[in-house]
Chain length 170, copies 2
């Protein structure tokens, strides 16, 4: 099966969630999935759910703290190490699908170089599907992608004062 490059971007809810649904469907079909989460390092409920699913490996590369404003030295070091790991995972051929959650954000914040990232994607083995999520996808990523969906916020309940809820948003 030839692998493509899918991108989920935009300011609306559903990007990471769609990638997780994709991982779930793939695991049902017996495909092997790696999910690397940039800029995230918290025990979200999905970590618990993935424990029940064979064929899915999830790794969080960030710290529990959300990056606000200027990234710290630790954020840079972690992203750099994460990117090295992701490159070897893509090349390893162990996974049919590699999901790079919030990689757009990591590039947008300058934690990963867009050029290096594109090189890694261009050099992927043919049969591997890559899924990239996060708002503010760099235009170079949109150009090399085979599929791009923009999740567009039309209405959001956080404007009503609804906070992230366990099991729904986190």
């Amino acid at each position: 099966m030839e692998g493509y490059v899918q991108v989920y971007t935009g300011n609306g809810k559903g990007k990471t969630t769609a990638a997780f649904g994709l991982a779930l469907r793939a695991s049902g079909a017996g495909l092997k999935v790696f999910i690397g989460q940039f800029c995230k390092g918290r025990n979200y409920s999905e970590l618990k759910a993935f424990k029940n699913l064979p064929n899915i490996t999830l790794k969080q590369f960030g710290t529990p703290k959300f990056i606000m404003g200027k990234p710290s030295d630790e954020d840079y070091t972690r992203a750099e190490k994460a990117f090295e790991e992701v490159k070897s995972i893509i090349q390893s051929g162990k996974y049919d699908i590699v999901i790079l959650d919030e990689a757009n954000i990591a590039m947008d914040m300058g934690l990963i170089s867009v050029d290096d990232f594109i090189d890694a994607i261009k050099n992927k083995p043919d049969n591997i599907e890559i899924v990239i999520t996060g708002r503010n996808a760099p235009k170079e990523i949109l150009e090399i992608a085979d599929l791009v969906t923009e999740m567009k916020e039309i209405k959001h309940y956080y404007k009503k004062g609804v906070h992230a809820r366990v099991g729904i948003e986190k």
Copy 2:
């Protein structure tokens, strides 16, 4: 926890997939989820994956045949019965989240009345979260929703001739 109404619509890839990711996350948090799929009746890979997940019940209300053009009498009968079942499931209080996959399509095709659907949503128990997916969401649905994300197709590989693949799209 108060329940809201979420809608995923638009012509892009990721609507059903996001709802499945949401179900996965919720199951990880111990919430109970019902997924009713209108207009679908095939053994998609997700059916297999959901078998490994506690707390998720998935039911397909459609036939294996995709509805093209004018719906058949069977399509109408099935949708009517499905809608009755969904209403009692919403009222039963057995589930924290009720996902109505492709319900927008069912309304758009006239298989379910928009007014009746809105009544069912308005009469839901307070603590139940409702998630509605499908393109062409009726404007009345967007009005009563608390959260709306439009999945907008920016680029799609089917235009390159890529067909739905097992584990990725189905």
